[in-house]
Amino acid sequence: MTALRADLRAIADMIPAGSRVLDVGCGDGALLEHLVKTLGVDGRGIELSQVNVNACVARGLSVLQGDADTDLHEYPSSVFDIVILSQTVQATRAPNVVLANLLRIGGRTIVSFPNFGHWRVRASLLFKGRMPRTKALGYHWYDTPNIHLCTIADFVETAKEADATIVQALALNADGDVRPMNIDTWGPNLLAEGAIFLLEAKQAA
């Protein structure tokens, strides 16, 4: 097994051993396999790409080929301890609906995404007047799958609107540096290239 990417390792650190985990947009299954093999989780995945689904199946993982935008509503409530949405929220058609579904399906929800509020992104627009192309966001404006990019501040607001409690917030940088961030200050939204949030649905009254 190859070394896990820093952001995936940070996600893995949030997951208790033996829990039931759904990884939405699980890619080739690297994170899910790690979770199953090292933490003994009962892991399931959803993935859009046929090639990636085959890669997951060959790893012995249970993965459904499907779409977060259309398929999540078919899942019963509270069947997973943890639901993961890693680097995928910005590619969904209705991120707020997807988030509401994740909070419903899982006890806790982990969401990671690239931060569109990072200073390089801002500088690209301010000084060049061009849509930003960075290491984390390498596409042209016309071919990007990232149709709903957001900043850390945007996401914090959306999470509040979804009635979610932010249990933990981590700032992510390209060199693999992961550290806790204070979302009540302006710093992380300017300096972090990405973010990982651990959310929990507020108990219904």
């Binding site: 249970s62 080929q65 078919e74």
Partner: protein, 391 residues
Amino acid sequence: MVEAVDPQFLRPLAAQNVDRGRAMTFGADKPLTLDSGRQLSPFTLAYMTYGALNADRSNAVLVCHALTGDQFVASAHPVTGKPGWWETMVGPGKPIDTDRFFVICTNVIGGCMGSTGPADIDPATGKPYGLDFPVVTIRDMVRAQAMLIDALGVDKLLCVIGGSMGGMQVLQWAASYPERVFAAVPIATAARHSAQNIAFHEVGRQAIMADPDWNSGNYQLAETRPGKGLAVARMAAHITYLSEAALQRKFGRSLQNREAVSFGFGPDFQIESYLHHQGMTFVDRFDANSYLYITRAMDYFDLAADYGGVLAEAYRGAKTRFCIISFTSDWLFPTVENKRVAHALNAAAANVSFVEIETDRGHDAFLLDEPELFAAVRGFVNAAATVRGVA
């Protein structure tokens, strides 16, 4: 009493020097109790095996065939001499590797390739069963297979796999005998036969029964053969196995050996000629009454009905690992039907993967050269074998 016998075929053999497989007859003490309430006894199941059963009997894979399939998965068909129907999938080094796995395939009960069916002699009358043969179901087919697996000394199958009606048997196996199925691969199938599919089957059956040579099902005694009716049934069914796109790509409006249309009703178009060929060759290898019975078994299939209408209940507590596969252009068993099964399994917290293969070749794709299908099956079966500790 269970007795090994030589498989008997209804049709003359085109290929004499091929492996004709094996058969087992279950005596009066081992009747097959059917869903209809009737019993079939004695009865025979014809089967083929490939590869070798390992010492701890953990590497057996059961392949279930489709409506017009048979036990000759990976070796020449003795009646037609043609290659096995799934040689791309099963064999040495193939996705289901017979160097590693012991593959079993039985001709379904009601079939016409050596297993007891309507063309066989009814011991009560000394005449062919014809329509006196009891109506069988998918569950009856699976019950019979389970008896054969017992006789072969296999307690738990590593994997049960099949497409179309074969996939129905896979779903039934996992529901009826969850503790005997380690992994299951239902391909291009459904947990219930749709109204549209029942409708197409009825067209086929009516074509057979409208043939004067069918003689109310007693054509063997009358020494006739309802070849025309059976050919039409096959032609109608064959269209449902393809897709509009594939028909257009393969045939379009191309004419058959002529420069212009003939202003008559001969086979002007290549697609007509192709369908005629499909119908004619089918008649040489298949029994008309078997076609009635097996299509009926598919029509009756509704797995959820046995579990209060809730499909998830069929798989409550299931430990079996599932890999469900569908094809984008399959309109006979469309993705949505396959996904229904996946969602039910999910709701039952079963281990399930679902793969949708992109192809324009329709339902038939499960029998064709589809690299992503092979990759999915190879990966899944090998992973299951590793988890089960098969060397």
